[in-house]
Symmetry: C2
Subunit: 128 residues, 2 copies
């Protein structure tokens, strides 16, 4: 029934690269660092696969560009939900998951949430 995910070279290298980073990475940066390991279309498809397998998650930056980061402290109870802030530094350009900081976000009555994109842009501690 469920398609089995094959452990291809492209998939290995991409997951390795993402996991080796302390900050999130975009498709284009990833493609550069892969140095010809695979086609850019393949990178898109591998990223989609890794997201579906809950190994990485998508971060939509304030400028609309998508970045990817490993899943670590995500909730996997009923479904896989990422309810944490992402900080995007306008100085050094890094995007970081702020997973160790409490936030209180609730919705009004009768709203049902499935996906969170909580991105804040500004200056990070290193650049302040």
């Amino acid at each position: 029934m469920s398609k089995t995910s094959r452990n291809t070279i492209a998939r290995q290298k991409i997951l390795e690269l993402i996991n080796s980073k302390k900050t999130a990475i975009s498709h284009s940066s990833l493609q550069e660092e892969l140095e010809g390991v695979c086609d850019r279309v393949t990178t898109y498809r591998v990223l989609e696969r890794l997201v579906n397998e809950s190994l990485i998650h998508r971060i939509v930056n304030v400028n609309g560009v998508v970045n990817y980061a490993p899943c670590q402290t995500c909730s996997h109870k009923e479904q896989h939900i990422h309810q944490h802030i992402h900080f995007s530094c306008i100085s050094c350009g890094t995007i970081r998951c702020i997973t160790d900081h409490p936030i209180a976000i609730t919705l009004p009555e009768n709203y049902s949430a499935t996906e969170y994109q909580l991105t804040i842009a500004g200056t990070c501690p290193e650049c302040l």
Copy 2:
């Protein structure tokens, strides 16, 4: 010093249209509803102008698409900051500003925030 913003027909119609909506609207939908009032490039430039004048604000949806909504309950103290949730319904497709609901978001020490994009996707009360 400061360029004076001219009240052109395109600007009038675009601002009218955005203000007439209860939900946010994207550039492409806007362009359709304008029915040939102006070129799509002009629409982009007018939108940019209206954002700079703090009459409307940009909402980056969870899919990365930009939408625009009137500024209403925004803070204008030191700078114009929009610190409220946007809800994107995956059923009816509408994007709504949740301005009448308290949220508590703080950042760890030494992070300085300048822009917030707090978008939550799910099902809205009308579609639940």
